[in-house]
């Protein structure tokens, strides 16, 4: 079943000197239920803008986004999003941050905190419930941000370079972690990245984008079984192919 459908989407930004910048042009894309889709492209190709439009944080200039067959315009709790960094509320401790979405939906405090504890366990940070975001490392903060998005039990999870600010080692651990969560909770994930390796490691399907104006250049199905082995020749071949394609963009 189609979870997300993007139909002839276009985004034009108006800059201050009356110039029109075509950020996205004629984007067509469908995402199936439980599919893990990576959007890969160079910086400035509009992939983050695309994600923000799907989330409802920005308007499309033309075209439409459908969620479960219904036109989707405003942000809602069914479509969660994880940002690149620093998205935790600095005045709330980790538990209250994770429970924030449930707070918005009006759940009573004891109940939402017990759900938050569950997700805290899931990200392996049981001892950090009372800690504040500034006391955590970048990797821990991102884990909390993911837990916060999941605690709201969204149907679709949009991720905008969530591991972009992390060091290589933490990044690899987090990727494994995310796959585990995805398999456990069965979510539809749209994951934006500019790292070829990350896309090959994570995705069922890679959407390759090129810039100015941002458009979809190619779609590649990745059929290798998970957990994928980076030393596998097939893995290396696909990575090499994508790198060449990226260079052409």
């Amino acid at each position: 079943m189609e979870k997300i459908k993007i139909d002839h989407l276009e985004k034009i930004f108006h800059s201050q000197n009356e110039m029109k910048i075509n950020a996205l042009t004629d984007i067509n894309l469908s995402v199936k239920e439980n599919e893990f889709v990576c959007i890969l492209g160079p910086s400035g190709c509009g992939k983050s803008t695309l994600l923000r439009i799907i989330a409802g944080l920005e308007d499309a200039s033309f075209g439409k986004v459908f969620y479960n067959g219904q036109e989707h315009i405003k942000p809602c709790r069914d479509i969660g999003m994880v940002f690149q960094s620093y998205s935790l509320m600095p005045w709330l401790n980790v538990l209250d941050n994770i429970a924030l979405g449930l707070n918005f939906s009006g759940m009573a405090k004891p109940k939402r905190l017990s759900i938050a504890e569950e997700y805290l366990d899931m990200i392996g940070m049981s001892n950090f419930g009372k800690a504040f975001p500034h006391e955590l490392s970048g990797g821990m903060q991102q884990r909390v941000a993911i837990a916060r998005a999941l605690a709201n039990n969204p149907d679709v999870l949009l991720m905008d370079e969530p591991f972009g600010a992390l060091d290589a080692y933490t990044r690899i651990i987090m990727q494994k972690e995310l796959l585990r969560i995805w398999e456990q909770r069965k979510k539809t994930i749209l994951f934006v990245t500019h790292s070829v390796d990350e896309a090959v490691y994570l995705a069922d399907r890679i959407i390759l984008m090129s810039g100015s104006p941002g458009k979809i250049k190619k779609e590649i199905l990745v059929t290798m079984p998970r957990i994928r082995d980076r030393s596998n020749p097939e893995y290396g071949a696909l990575t090499a192919e994508l790198l060449v394609l990226l260079e052409e963009t």
């Binding site: 620093y86 935790l88 979405g101 918005f104 998005a149």
Partner: protein, 278 residues
């Protein structure tokens, strides 16, 4: 512990130096109407509860001044905080008020003195609330509306500017994060914008109170004042009691610093996250 002791010592070096220079200069000048010795000023504090030049004790004068500043400050803040929040939240509201505020802001509060007198004359809290004549009336008659107005003017602008800045500068990612978690506009306002801007709001309140307290002497120079530290200073000057002038100045400084430290304690207790957040 050793370190803390060292820090305290460091913070006392300059004040001690100032006291030494003051005492040496006073001995050298040999004229109490220009610069009295420390001992003379200290004596005033030792007898703080005496009746000074017919104006009552020092605590009484500080009390009168505090009530004046607090009433003006409260009035200023009650308008400034909601206005600042709304201006930070809504571009249209900001556009409507900003020009007026920018024009009035550079005018020092004391420049309002003549107008304040013309507008409010001798009206006081006692006369506005139509209190029955008596001891109560005499006490509340001390609090002239013109003074409250001046102090309110002084506190208003820094508070409004700081609150607006705080609300405007809440990181967009925080607002976006809340939206995708299903926050309503009301949630965004009360659960994201206000707490995120709270440190700036408190900082505005802190600066506003400092400036309001600083307007005191000017406000208490208005006719109709018969008590208060500011009035004590001007009246003591007319009587060439420079020791009393300095006593009053020290009172203003110390009370101002104490008020400021209250805000510092609040900031450290509730907004410890602010300085550590990138």
């Amino acid at each position: 512990m050793q370190n803390k002791f060292k820090m305290i010592l460091l913070s006392l070096i300059l004040p001690a130096l100032l006291l030494i220079i003051w005492e040496l200069s006073a001995i050298w000048v040999q004229n109490a109407t220009i610069l009295p010795t420390i001992g003379k000023v200290l004596e005033n504090f030792m007898h703080a509860t005496d009746n000074f030049i017919g104006l009552g004790s020092i605590p009484r004068n500080i009390g009168v001044s505090l009530i004046r500043v607090m009433s003006g400050y409260t009035a200023g803040v009650l308008i400034a905080v909601p206005l600042g929040v709304l201006m930070g939240y809504n571009k249209t509201i900001q556009q409507v008020f900003e020009t007026l505020i920018n024009i009035f802001r550079p005018i020092p509060p004391l420049a309002w003195q003549p107008l304040a007198l013309a507008f409010f004359g001798m009206a006081s809290i006692a006369s506005v609330f139509d209190m029955p004549f008596g001891q109560q009336y005499v006490f509340w008659g001390n609090f002239k509306i013109a003074m409250v107005f001046l102090i309110g003017m002084g506190s208003f602008f820094p508070v409004v500017a700081s609150v607006m800045f705080g609300v405007q500068n809440v990181r967009q990612t925080l607002i976006d994060s809340a939206r995708v978690l299903g926050a309503s506009e009301r949630d965004i306002f009360f659960k994201i914008l206000l707490p995120a801007a709270a440190p700036s709001i408190i900082n505005g309140l802190r600066v506003g109170l400092a400036i309001g307290w600083g307007c005191l002497v000017g406000a208490e120079m208005l006719p109709g004042s018969l008590a208060g530290v500011g009035y004590l200073i001007t009246h003591a000057y007319e009587l060439a009691r420079i020791d009393l002038v300095i006593t009053g100045m020290i009172c203003i400084g110390v009370v101002g610093a104490l008020l400021d430290s209250i805000f510092k304690i609040i900031s450290n207790k509730y907004f410890f996250w602010e300085s550590k957040t990138r």
